[in-house]
Symmetry: C2
Subunit: 222 residues, 2 copies
């Protein structure tokens, strides 16, 4: 499959989207515009990671869009009064903000539209699907149709999800081969450095490195 010359990437500053950024460069996409979303996440530190990594990769531009998800409520990722569940508690479903991805992608698409860009890149991975039902291609196909039918001009919007069938450990494998600077990515839901090492996000990240017999360059508590 050929690649577009101009694309927008949703870059959270985490492992998967950062790997995707390096992968896009490797595929020869000339003009990459990165977008991060400030949605009131307590791990706001990832916004800093996102900006740093965009610059480091030589992206064409970086944009932070804001979206108030706290007003939807009831989620520990945005509500300081609730505590982040430990991975061992099997509560990942509780960190789901309804339609978070749909809102993020659509905001990025609105911005891309203003820049006359029709190609969006996102990094859902297969591991995410167990807690996030939208991390599957069927969902993105439907959204692609909605974006194409609902945009201000008669055009086709493409949502590229090259990692959607891959496990996080495979993504890390790709990233290691592309020398992704994982020390600058942020994963921990608690939003702390050193990372907590106990939340779902940390546990999955550590596992992905472990499966590659690699050492995560991040520092962890204890």
């Amino acid at each position: 499959m050929s690649h577009p010359q101009r694309a927008v990437l949703l870059l959270s500053g985490g492992m998967d989207s950062t790997t995707l950024l390096w992968w896009m460069k490797d595929q020869g996409i000339a003009e990459i515009h990165t977008v991060a979303i400030d949605y009131g996440q307590r791990h706001k530190i990832e916004l800093k990671s996102s900006r740093t990594l965009s610059k480091q990769a030589g992206a064409q531009s970086h944009r932070v869009l804001t979206l108030n998800l706290q007003q939807i409520g009831g989620n520990p990722l945005t509500d300081q009064a609730l505590s982040i569940p430990a991975a061992a508690d099997k509560q990942q479903i509780n960190t789901v903000v309804p339609y978070r991805n749909l809102l993020f992608v659509t905001l990025a698409a609105a911005w891309a539209e203003q820049e006359s860009i029709q190609h969006l890149y996102l990094s859902p991975v297969q591991d995410d699907y167990k807690a996030y039902r939208d991390c599957r291609r069927a969902f993105y196909d439907a959204l692609e149709t909605a974006l194409s039918l609902g945009g201000p001009h008669d055009t086709t919007v493409h949502i590229h999800t090259p990692f959607v069938e891959k496990w996080k450990s495979e993504v890390v494998q790709i990233g290691l081969s592309l020398q992704v600077p994982y020390q600058h990515t942020h994963t921990c839901y608690e939003g702390i450095r050193p990372a907590c090492g106990r939340c779902d996000a940390c546990v999955e990240r550590l596992d992905a490195f472990h499966r590659n017999n690699a050492v995560d360059p991040l520092e962890y508590e204890k």
Copy 2:
């Protein structure tokens, strides 16, 4: 077709969504939750109309959700530096904020999800389609699929658009028969009272009343 017992309505405070609210009551929907979106519109007065009309209709609850569309930029509905085109200028396309409806519906769906409500009501009408490509059922079908596939639980989300095949004049006809208090609705893009009577929104509204041989109870400039 039978109607749900509980539903969320996107109520802008304009003519179409207000008529829909009265229509829903008439259809016997017991519990109607209204949602308005503060997106930085210069006609913020419509938010007041929305709250007033929700109360007047005896809706179960009213909620204002915020969404910053100014950050997407370049639109006279949200940018005070740009002027609202007069209807005579045939510039309605310039008042299109990319994916505004998609974002509004998804935000309302996220809130509805938290309330365990799967039925959303919206009021696109046929006249809107010439400038807003998302005011057609094919778009809402795709979005319904995306919302159903992408929600936190395995459920079907229904987007009801009972007026999508109707012209604005037909909607006003329904509203007049249901005694909708049109004097409390707001339409003018300039956000002023008396209304300007020149912008696209005003001109369409006046025409819809005219076609019903009815008098718009709103006051207009001059």
